[in-house]
């Protein structure tokens, strides 16, 4: 029985089903989109949840991490070991021993470059010196280094290898200056018992407001003395620094040149005359200090320690108002939150965020620019080290031939000065990048002085030329009033807004 209306009916039915399907899909898509928009809107809500109450005595970063999981998560990542061309660090396995339970360390710099052993002959650094690792390792790597076995280190070292703020408060009954003195006077392993964490949240942040603050007395004092030399009276870093300055100063608490002053072993930053290497050398002349007597030559020499803060101050980034945190802890987006990346590391491992926020060139281009600066510095450093090895050999031969310490006094003075300049760049963790021209200037000067010392070994009547000392603050990014420099975060000059 054929129904003449059947095809029409069937077509009508098909149309209805078709429209139904399309409508259903459209509705589903609209709802899916609405759901996605809802999720994005949720992201944008401030998700800070106060899970725990933090106090000025909360030292354990894991507790802070309950309130700030994103920052804590990236902070934990400083255990990563990744090499860059001239920095970073490489994980090297080792067999744990009773004295040193570490199963992974960084590569030995002494094996990479034996000339360093010659430079530091007679000093603990010639026994064990490895590439620096991330913040997570600062306490262990210092506790277990072989240097601890060959020499008795003071508690002063702890100031920058551990979270000491709460230890200061405990030892000084609430007065961090008193606690600072107490830690300085201890032996290292006694001081080691007072602390338990590597650098932690409380070392840079106020527990109630999360504002950056300086907790290291040595930095407060060093900055006050440096500013005083520039004509700024009574500088209090926590009161007078701008927010952008603080984003460098909290790093400058530790990434600096320092020495242990007097029998009290007070941690001191030698900045009374300024931050440049000559200013620091002049300070050491006025406040006689030697770190050790060179085993091969007998010269009273100095050890330079990681002067990143000083070198950054001489560079174009500091002068443009770029803080340490801008490159080493660049902002990153998590959901709608802007988070400082607490995985502190080489910007070369994070070029996209660290460099490309300001520099609109490809990653390869930026990396090769940075590495070109570093390669040039590295060449100059090698020249300097070769010169120093040559000088040490010359002095040894001269001593065998009967020259006395009195005969060589002028040579010693040149070695002390040249070697310190060389070590200043060698110890600084950027292979010149923080201030390429300054690094080249210093290395050129170092080689010049060391070669002059070699001439002097041969010809005692030789009159060496030692360049003039620059005035304090000249060219510094942080110069005070009356000095030809700039204030960080204020490229236009004038007085910074507080």
């Amino acid at each position: 029985m054929a129904n003449p209306n059947a095809p029409v009916k069937r077509r009508g039915l098909l149309l209805l089903v078709g429209v139904g399907l399309v409508s259903a899909l459209a509705a589903a898509a609209a709802v899916a989109l609405a759901t996605n928009i809802f999720e994005r809107k949720q992201e944008a809500k401030n998700t800070f949840v106060r899970v725990v109450e933090l106090t000025d005595d909360t030292v354990d970063p894991a507790i802070w991490g309950k309130n700030f999981p994103l920052q804590y998560d990236s902070y934990l990542r400083t255990v990563d070991q990744v090499r860059t061309q001239y920095g970073g660090s490489e994980a090297v396995p080792r067999a744990p021993t009773q004295a040193d339970p570490r199963s992974v360390v960084a590569q030995s710099r002494l094996e990479e470059d034996p000339r360093l052993k010659a430079m530091w002959a007679g000093y603990a650094f010639s026994k064990d010196f490895r590439e620096e690792r991330g913040h997570a390792y600062m306490l262990d790597d210092q506790t277990f280094t072989e240097r601890q076995q060959v020499t008795q280190q003071p508690g002063t070292c702890i100031h920058c290898h551990a979270s000491t703020y709460t230890a200061y408060k405990k030892l000084g009954n609430g007065d961090i200056m008193k606690g600072f003195d107490a830690l300085n006077h201890m032996k290292y392993f006694e001081a080691r018992k007072q602390v338990e964490h590597p650098v932690s949240c409380i070392d840079c942040h106020d527990s109630q407001t999360m504002q950056l603050r300086v907790t290291r007395p040595a930095f407060m004092q060093g900055m006050a003395r440096m500013k005083a030399a520039q004509g700024v009276k009574d500088f209090d870093v926590n009161r007078d620094a701008t927010r952008q300055e603080m984003r460098s100063y909290v790093c400058g608490q530790c990434h600096v040149e320092y020495y242990f002053k007097g029998p009290e072993k007070t941690l001191t930053y030698p900045w009374d005359k300024g931050l440049k290497v000559e200013n620091i050398l002049a300070y050491y002349e006025e406040n006689p200090h030697k770190d050790w007597t060179h085993a091969d030559t007998g010269a009273p020499v100095l050890k330079a320690q990681h002067p990143e803060f000083e070198m950054w101050n001489q560079g174009i980034h500091a002068r443009s108002g770029v803080a340490c945190a801008d490159c080493h802890m660049p902002y990153t987006r998590v959901g709608a939150q802007k988070v400082s990346d607490h995985h502190v590391r080489s910007p070369l491992l994070n070029i996209n965020r660290a460099c490309q926020t300001c520099h609109h060139f490809s990653e390869d281009e930026l990396r090769s620019r940075a590495e070109a600066l570093q390669a040039r510095t590295f060449q100059l450093r090698n020249q300097g080290l070769d010169a120093l090895v040559g000088l040490i050999a010359d002095v040894k031969a001269a001593k065998v031939a009967g020259k006395t310490d009195a005969d060589l006094a002028g040579v010693y003075a040149l070695q002390r000065r040249g070697q310190f300049m060389l070590d200043f760049i060698e110890a600084e963790n950027s292979m010149g990048f923080h201030a390429p021209e300054e690094a080249a200037r210093i290395l050129g000067q170092a080689t010049n002085l060391i070669r002059q010392a070699q001439i002097m070994v041969r010809d005692p009547s030789f009159k060496p030329e030692v360049p003039d000392m620059p005035p304090p603050g000249a060219g510094d990014a942080h110069a005070g009033p009356g000095t030809p420099g700039k204030t960080v975060g204020n490229p236009g000059g004038g007085s910074p807004a507080h």
Binding site: G12, V19, A24, A30, L33, A34, I37, T332, N352
Partner: protein, 181 residues
């Protein structure tokens, strides 16, 4: 229902319910997403999605804050060009933000860079004309998608912004919204 067979009537009702549901869901989503705001010049609309928060905050503090809104620099200064650009970017941005697949930090694309460069030149003509004498020809040529004639280049002229040399933003990046701090 008169004159209509019962079957057709039922079908019509079913159809209306189906289509109505779809239109309703789409309509709700449109309103929930503040769809209409995208037809305005309000910069807050551009920051409906939090991913533009930094650009918005940067603009609030920028030197152009009192003289230009997002659309002044990011859309052509003609009715058709403006809404065509809005539609195109709206589509790209929606897809990117919904899928989460986009580069960070956010980069401006080639077409939008051209639009922005033309906007600089449009307002600052008195200055840019001295730098690039054939400028007016050039900006309108870009707007109408005409390939610039070789004859327009008078020997000493700078290449067009597309070549990446005479880009205003190369030196004046911070005028709209500098993302620092």
């Amino acid at each position: 229902m008169l004159g209509v067979s019962r079957r057709v009537a039922v079908s019509a009702v079913v159809l209306a319910v189906l289509v109505g549901t779809a239109v309703g869901a789409a309509g709700f989503t449109f309103i929930y997403a503040k769809g209409a705001s995208y037809l305005t010049d309000d910069p807050a609309a551009c920051a409906n999605c939090h991913v533009m928060n930094e650009q918005y905050a940067g603009w609030v503090k920028s030197s152009h804050h009192n003289v230009a809104v997002c659309n002044d620099c990011h859309t052509p200064h003609s009715f058709f060009g403006k809404y065509y650009t809005k539609a195109l970017n709206g589509w790209h941005h929606s897809v990117a933000f919904t899928s989460g697949d986009f580069h960070e930090p956010i980069h401006i694309g080639e077409r939008n860079l051209q639009v922005t460069e033309a906007a600089c030149r449009s307002c600052h003509q008195d200055i840019t004309h001295a730098i690039e004498p054939e400028l007016l020809v050039r900006v309108s040529a870009q707007a109408t998608k005409e390939p610039r004639k070789e004859a327009d280049r008078h020997g000493s002229q700078h290449p067009v912004p597309r070549d990446g040399t005479m880009s205003c933003l190369r030196c004046h990046r911070s005028v709209g919204h500098l993302e620092l701090d």
